[in-house]
């Protein structure tokens, strides 16, 4: 699913304020091979395992109209064999080594990862380097795999009303920026995709100088670097296409979209354009927005649950989140499901009342301290998983934020004042920055099922 709550990552050094020490994980080291491949290694000796994550700085944001979804389809095809490794062999070798592998595609990045016993890391690096340079992309395998991806779209979007709401919200909120297109792609583009589209995308973006290798685990950085050099070092760097900013033009007024789909309860999703983190040292607003999200929905004690769900009882659930780690535009989300008998308009009004309260009265010192305490604790908890640590580094790096700024980020978060929180609420909770998507539940009876018409209209 889409994560509305991509948290800013917090750091270890400042934790000394609440916790006695910061053991287990040590600082990450960073190097670069001659061909441009960046290598980030974060030793964590809690268990004799290692997580390898190779991220390519290419995602759905780099697609063009007509081939939406190609970054994700290519991710699937990366498991379908190379010149020297037959179809299915990648998964067989990793499995035999006791490993688990998977991959993911987001707006900003495509990531391939494997968790293994530390002695098996070399195998994962060898296979990863092989498919960076030697992918087969056979038409026969593509013909089958594109059907799998269409099943994935049916499962995760077409048959899920709230996914459709999110998809339509993004397509409405943005006019020019490619975040408006769904990561999985429009069905019609999937139906018309050709293996040549993948090959072109692969040749354009899958180069060592567009990739970062992240390893977290019971490893020695110098040894990982040597292995990276051994397997990736011979792959030549390539000229990468210029990335155009595709800045979104100014929004001129509130946008609304309705999604009719079979469901029982309505659902309202409000998305405000808000600045993402760009300069961890100098920015202030992204940290205030993060604290705003935490005050509204950082825990069961936070405002939306307390007010809309428990006190007023107009919402069955209510959520807030700030997506501030992104190469493209950032968003602040509010969403709610009305309790049975209440309407979408009533929960929208409830969310707006909560916004107005913060604009008018700000947040209390207690609320802010609570939000900060949770952020600090969350940071400790996240270190329980090596994969989570690797994926955090990857998300930051794909958004051009160095993982080295983690300490700074935590410090800045702790410096946020209640006046700053009020100020960002005042500045960004505006109708001219807002898109509202509403699920209009349709009864099951009489739903016609035929192949969806192409493109945007398949939602009706």
């Amino acid at each position: 699913m889409f994560s509305f709550k991509r948290k800013l990552q917090l750091a270890c050094a400042v934790l000394a304020l609440v916790a006695a020490s910061c053991p287990a994980a040590t600082d990450a080291t960073e190097s670069k091979l001659a061909n441009g491949l960046r290598v980030i290694v974060k030793p964590d000796r809690r268990a004799p395992v290692a997580v390898m994550l190779l991220l390519y700085k290419v995602g759905s944001v780099d697609e063009v109209n007509g081939v939406t979804g190609v970054a994700h389809v290519l991710e699937h095809m990366m498991f379908k064999g190379t010149a020297g490794t037959p179809v299915g062999e990648y998964s067989r070798l990793i499995a035999s080594a006791g490993g688990r592998d998977n991959a993911y595609t987001s707006n900003d990045l495509t990531g391939y990862f494997a968790s293994l016993g530390k002695s098996q890391l070399e195998l994962a690096l060898r296979l990863e380097a092989d498919r960076m340079a030697n992918l087969t992309l056979s038409p026969e395998e593509f013909t089958k795999e594109i059907r799998v991806v269409m099943e994935e779209r049916r499962l995760r979007t077409d048959d899920r009303p709230r996914s459709l709401v999110y998809e339509q919200m993004m397509a409405t909120a943005l006019t020019a920026h490619p975040y408006r297109r769904p990561i999985i792609g429009w069905m019609n583009d999937l139906e018309n995709m050709r293996v040549e589209d993948l090959r072109e995308f692969y040749q354009r973006w899958y180069a060592p100088n567009n990739a970062t290798l992240v390893v977290v685990g019971d490893v020695v950085p110098a040894e990982v670097l040597a292995l990276a050099g051994k397997y990736f070092g011979g792959i030549p760097a390539r000229d990468l296409p210029a990335r155009k900013p595709q800045d979104e033009p100014a929004q001129l007024g509130v946008k609304r979209v309705t999604v009719k789909a079979p469901a029982e309860l309505p659902y309202v999703l409000m998305a405000f354009r808000a600045p993402p983190l760009r300069d961890p040292e100098r920015d202030t607003e992204p940290y205030a927005l993060e604290m705003l999200a935490a005050v509204l929905d950082g825990s069961q004690a936070a405002r939306l649950n307390r007010t809309l769900v428990r006190k007023e009882r107009i919402a069955s659930s209510a959520d807030a989140g700030y997506d501030g780690i992104a190469r493209g535009p950032g968003f602040f989300y509010l969403s709610a499901t009305p309790t049975p008998g209440k309407t979408a308009a009533e929960v929208e009004a409830g969310l707006r009342r909560e916004m107005a309260k913060i604009i008018e009265h700000g947040v209390t010192q207690d609320e802010l301290e609570r939000a900060k305490a949770q952020a600090v604790a969350q940071h400790v908890y996240e270190r329980d998983s090596m994969l989570v640590q690797a994926r955090q580094i990857a998300s930051l790096e794909a958004a051009d934020i160095s993982h080295r700024t983690l300490d700074v980020q935590l410090q800045k978060l702790r410096e946020v004042t209640s006046e700053q929180v009020r100020e960002v609420a005042r500045k960004y909770f505006r109708d001219d920055a807002l898109t509202i998507a509403t699920l209009d539940p349709q009864p099951l009876a009489g739903v016609k099922r035929k192949p969806p018409p192409p493109g945007l209209k398949h939602v009706q």
Binding site: G98, E152, D384
Partner: protein, 447 residues
């Protein structure tokens, strides 16, 4: 994010034999003064503590007319207790960054806590935790509010194909056994719940003597002992026998049900009651299932349904072992006009596997994965905590993880085939298809 695969929860592998103290995981075991069983792993790597207290209080202990009482009891523990209001509970936890969670399944119910181990944070979190377990108020007003919320979500779920397929399967496979009951109850039974139902359920099931405490993290043995006393000390006392679940009747014959639905994909489940946590065939079936449909991309079902034919995004089989025989399930989703084809492929794959078992090569590969990958099963506090809670609840030996590795290494292809032939009868499966359409003539290319 779109993942290449969302893996179905791999059933944690558990098997029971006697043996010496564990070499893989230094589990400390003792009982509290009140008789609760405590399982502890001391680990100071991270300044945090994970804790749970669980009881035989899952949905299996519901009565049909009051289905949902077990779930609502667990859900309302945090809604106010021991002079703390609901808001007090939530604020005190949030103030110290603690996370209160819980488990609710067919067998087990309880609460879990993740907190920083530093003194102020830990003490405040544990104080709230102990009080909500021990003296919940079950306020009437909150009960009414939660009934409304739950009924809304039940109605929403009831039109979803994945819910319909699952509910239908459980009813057909388990008949009048309580495992057939829906975890959270039905709309009508939830409406009927009263505060008194919850009070009684808590008194009968959240008993000190039945409690299983699992802890891992940054505390000493002495501190862990004090914590275990603190979180179980004031629990209800009872001299009654620990509640038991009735035995599961096997299926005398197979049954198939097809339910129309508008969704783009048909949802398909094939299955039957399978095995209990302490089943002697557990290892053979677990390893065999890795080859059949539990091993992700290297499993036969994934190979046949997805990789060879592109019929589904997710296709898998699993055993879900419970106190009594939990289900064996094959599940997948496919475009509605491919349902018949996908079903035939899955059935043929199952029949062939039961008939012939795994090849020696497949078995060796499965063992390599499970044995070599063992460190990944215990590489975080969260994962270890899960094992502690399971070992404790099902009274598995402390050496269970060591036994597991050893038993996986020694199981043979003949034993796996034999176990599947005795336990999995392809002609006695419950099959449910929600939303399928007959395949077009000659459209299905499956065997």
């Amino acid at each position: 994010m779109f993942n290449r695969l969302i893996a179905p929860a791999l059933a944690a592998a558990l098997a029971a034999t006697a043996g010496p103290a564990s070499a893989l995981l230094p589990i400390q075991y003792w009982q509290t003064a009140g008789g609760a069983r405590v399982y502890f792993v001391e680990n100071h790597d991270l300044p945090m503590l994970d804790l749970s207290v669980e009881f035989p209080a899952g949905a299996g202990y519901d009565r049909p007319a009051k289905a949902g009482a077990a779930s609502m009891t667990q859900r309302l523990l945090r809604a106010g207790a021991d002079k703390m209001t609901e808001e007090d509970v939530e604020q005190r936890l949030a103030d110290v960054g603690a996370q209160l969670g819980g488990r609710f399944d067919n067998d087990r119910a309880g609460l879990s806590l993740r907190t920083l181990s530093s003194a102020r944070e830990r003490q405040q979190a544990l104080d709230v935790f102990a009080r909500v377990l021990r003296a919940p108020d079950f306020p009437r007003a909150v009960l009414e509010r939660e009934k409304v919320r739950l009924i809304g979500s039940l109605k929403e779920a009831d039109i979803r194909p994945e819910t319909i397929v699952s509910r239908t399967f459980y009813r057909m496979a388990y008949g009048d056994h309580p495992y057939a009951l829906r975890d959270s109850g039905e709309v009508e039974t939830v409406k009927a719940l009263t505060r008194e139902d919850l009070v009684q359920f808590h008194r009968r099931h959240y008993v000190a003597r039945y409690a299983v405490v699992a802890l891992i993290g940054d505390v000493t043995r002495a501190e862990a002992e004090a914590i275990a006393e603190q979180v179980t000390g004031g629990l209800p006392k009872s001299s009654a026998e620990e509640p038991v679940l009735p035995p599961v009747k096997g299926l005398a014959s197979g049954a198939t049900r097809s339910i129309p639905h508008h969704a783009a994909q048909a949802h398909i489940v094939i299955g039957a009651p399978g095995i209990s946590r302490t089943d002697p065939d557990y290892i053979a079936l677990f390893v065999g299932n890795f080859v059949l449909g539990g091993g992700g991309f290297v499993s036969r079902i994934m190979e046949e349904v997805r990789s060879k034919r592109g019929l589904a995004y997710s296709a898998a089989s699993y055993f879900y072992p419970l106190q009594r025989e939990g289900p064996f399930v094959i599940s997948m989703q496919t475009r509605r006009d491919q349902a018949t084809q996908a079903l035939e492929v899955a059935q043929a794959t199952l029949a062939e596997f039961v008939k012939s078992g795994p090849s020696e090569e497949e078995l060796a590969a499965a063992k390599r994965n499970i044995v070599n990958g063992f460190p990944l099963r215990i590489d975080s506090n969260r994962k270890i905590h899960e094992y502690l809670a399971t070992i404790g609840f099902y009274r598995l030996p402390l050496t269970y993880l060591d036994d597991f590795v050893r038993n996986v290494q020694s199981v043979t292809a003949a034993e796996i085939r034999d176990a599947f032939q005795r336990r999995i009868r392809p002609d006695r499966m419950v099959t449910v298809v929600v939303g399928g359409e007959p395949a077009k003539a000659a459209g299905a290319g499956a065997r």
